[in-house]
């Protein structure tokens, strides 16, 4: 078994004539923090959406560990529209829904926070544990709320609460347990969204601009937080981020995307000194 957690091969995502992701190949290895950077509209979120089953890619394959996660090739009217050079290279179709992919161990956060905003912080985390439930609808309905009957369903429910509270403590959000998540401060919401993703018990965590809208101090705290959860939960992390101090301080490797195409990849130093990256992105990003 290789230690590659995620491998993307020639991934192309085309919306009609717009090629949002163009022949992207990349890898995330066990225990790594890998960053995906690039200017606005480069196709970063689209790449995430292909991994998590929100979009079906037009062409290419994605492996998760040694299994094909997603695969597609241009068919129907996409056959004519497809502009890439890899036509005919792939012939397999594997398609999974986002919930199946999460179940396999890939969890994500969203660029525009998507908490269950009228529910409490605790409920948000509880919901993310639901995918592992063993009791069926009847058992959970009849027994999980009755504390005076010792049943499997009740034990499971108690365990979910216990685990959710533990998790909130572990990420330092215990004081917000019963607060409505939509009314929490912005930075806290971002952190809660990460906690919620952790509750699904992932081995690969995808973070879409986790530091968006944060001030430098919050960003520093988040940087430590990402490293901390990575170690504690034995994760591999794949993140999209614009804050260069965050990216440069913790990424093992960096991929740079521009207009859907990979323009560079390598270690921090390699990317930082790459002229194409400086021209396309870093020069601009410093003041962004």
């Amino acid at each position: 078994m290789s230690n590659t957690v995620l491998r993307m091969e020639d991934l192309t995502m085309q919306f009609g004539g717009v090629v949002a992701v163009n022949n992207l190949s990349l890898e995330v290895n066990e225990g790594e923090i890998v960053a995906l950077i690039g200017p606005n509209g480069a196709g970063k979120t689209t790449a995430f959406n292909c991994i998590t089953g929100v979009y079906e890619p037009t062409n290419g394959q994605i492996f998760y560990r040694d299994e094909i996660l997603v695969a597609n090739y241009p068919q129907g009217k996409m056959k004519k529209l497809y502009a890439g050079e890899n036509a005919g290279k792939y012939t397999k179709v594997v398609s999974r829904t986002p919930d199946q992919i999460t179940r396999m161990g890939i969890a994500r956060t969203f660029q525009n926070i998507r908490l269950f905003s009228s529910l409490t912080a605790l409920e948000n985390v509880l919901i993310a544990q639901h995918l592992h439930i063993r009791s069926n609808l009847f058992g959970a309905t009849l027994l999980s709320q009755l504390s005076f009957v010792k049943s499997k369903a009740r034990q499971e429910e108690e365990h979910m609460y216990q685990r959710a509270r533990e998790l909130l403590v572990e990420v330092g959000l215990e004081q917000y347990e019963n607060e409505v998540s939509g009314s929490l401060p912005y930075g806290i919401q971002r952190r809660l969204e990460i906690a919620r993703a952790l509750a699904t018990n992932p081995s690969l965590l995808l973070l879409d601009e986790p530091a968006a809208g944060m001030n430098p101090q919050e960003t520093r705290a988040l940087t430590d937080f990402i490293v901390e959860i990575k170690d504690r939960y034995k994760l591999s992390v794949f993140m999209i981020e614009h804050h260069m101090d965050l990216v440069m301080s913790i990424s093992d490797r960096i991929y740079v995307l521009d207009f859907g195409k990979l323009i560079a990849h390598g270690t921090r130093e390699e990317v930082q000194n790459n002229q194409r990256v400086i021209d396309a992105y870093l020069g601009v990003a410093e003041d962004a």
């Binding site: 919930d99 179940r103 269950f116 529910l119 509880l126 609808l137 309905t141 019963n178 509750a199």
Partner: protein, 365 residues
């Protein structure tokens, strides 16, 4: 400590209600308007809660509640009419095809199951699509099922467009309350379980729910079938209450009534739906009846009051609610003793209120 006190309050309230119901049941009030309102209110409360499970908790919009009630009512009636009464009920169809009769409780459960089964059939194709399609599909279903049941070819089973009667009904006012209480209790338990939380997450944000590993189609199906099950039971009870069933009364107007009850009570509040059911039934059957009759004050005819005016007033009330009180009576809150205590203390204890504000406010389920 607080929990225990609230439990005590609840028990006392339940006991008082029970005592009041028993008193009404054993007095001349039993055949009064009050008794009618209470029975119909209890039945509507169940149907409203079942719709709220869908609209308020899962974020799905169904317009088929009357159709599922119709299925429940017919299933119950068809399965429970005593064998010896069948020849007179099915007089145009040689006593009908069904020649057995089930006990009341079995009939009620069957009513729910048949409704849930049809929901399953509708849900299979529709729940995979965007949520809006469910409203259209269920509305269509309700219309089709009403026509289908009156179809003469099905007469040996459904009695065509003729009335179904002579099925067992209840004698005590407590019956609809007991059935509704048990069913609503089950819905509440479901809402508070992990599955209920999953339903709510779908209401909040489908994309995020799916990203958290929740199988949307499966959970929507669960909510839809459960909702329809209880609508079916509610329909069966409505049949018992009216002592007869005829398909033509289960129109989309009935669905709108129930939808209205849910909106008035607060989308996402079970206690809101219950309170609003009784209020709604009382208004439409009783308190606003006077609007339909002509009145004279000192020999002068009061203008506007005439048959049908009640519905005009009703519509205005609805418009006001939808425009200005979109959250209904309860919003998404539930009745809680904590809130009641706060409300009672409010004028007296400013200090208490300030303390309350300092504490992290705990939203009630």
């Amino acid at each position: 400590m607080k929990q225990k006190r609230y439990l005590l309050y609840s028990l006392v309230l339940a006991a008082l209600l029970l005592a009041a119901l028993i008193a009404i049941d054993n007095s001349s009030l039993k055949s009064s308007m009050l008794s009618t309102i209470l029975q119909k209110g209890a039945i509507y409360a169940l149907v409203a809660v079942s719709l709220n499970l869908l609209n308020g908790f899962t974020g799905l919009f169904s317009l088929g509640q009357a159709g599922f009630m119709l299925l429940g009512a017919y299933t119950y009636a068809i399965l429970t009419i005593p064998v010896e009464a069948r020849s007179s009920v099915y007089q145009y169809f040689n006593g009908g095809l069904v020649q057995f009769s089930l006990p009341v409780v079995v009939g009620l459960i069957a009513a729910g199951l048949v409704a849930a089964f049809f929901a399953f059939l509708i849900g299979l194709p529709v729940l995979r699509l965007k949520s809006d399609y469910l409203a259209i599909a269920t509305l269509g279903f309700a219309e089709i099922i009403r026509a289908l049941i009156q179809w003469n070819t099905l007469g040996p089973i459904t009695n065509g467009s003729n009335i179904l009667r002579k099925f067992p009904t209840y004698s005590s006012l407590l019956f609809p309350f007991a059935v509704s209480a048990v069913c609503i209790g089950l819905v509440v338990l479901m809402i508070r379980s992990s599955y209920g939380r999953a339903f709510k997450s779908i209401r909040e944000d489908e994309i995020a729910a799916e990203a958290m590993g929740i199988n949307l189609a499966k959970h929507k199906m669960m909510a839809f079938c459960t909702s329809s099950f209880f609508a079916g039971v509610g329909g069966a009870m409505l049949a018992m209450f009216q002592q007869s069933v005829q398909a033509k009364y289960f129109t989309s107007a009935m669905t709108y009534e129930i939808l209205l009850i849910v909106v008035i009570g607060g989308i996402g509040s079970v206690t809101g739906s219950i309170i609003s059911s009784f209020l709604f039934v009382a208004c439409s059957e009783w308190w606003l009846r006077f609007l339909d009759a002509q009145h004279y004050i000192g020999g002068v005819k009061v203008p506007l009051l005439r048959s049908g005016f009640r519905m005009v007033v009703f519509s205005i009330v609805i418009m006001v609610i939808v425009l200005f009180y979109r959250r209904g009576i309860m919003g998404t809150n539930e009745f809680s003793w904590g809130a009641i205590e706060k409300f009672i203390k409010a004028p007296f204890g400013r200090k208490a209120r300030e303390e309350e504000r300092k504490k992290v406010t705990t939203p009630h389920e």
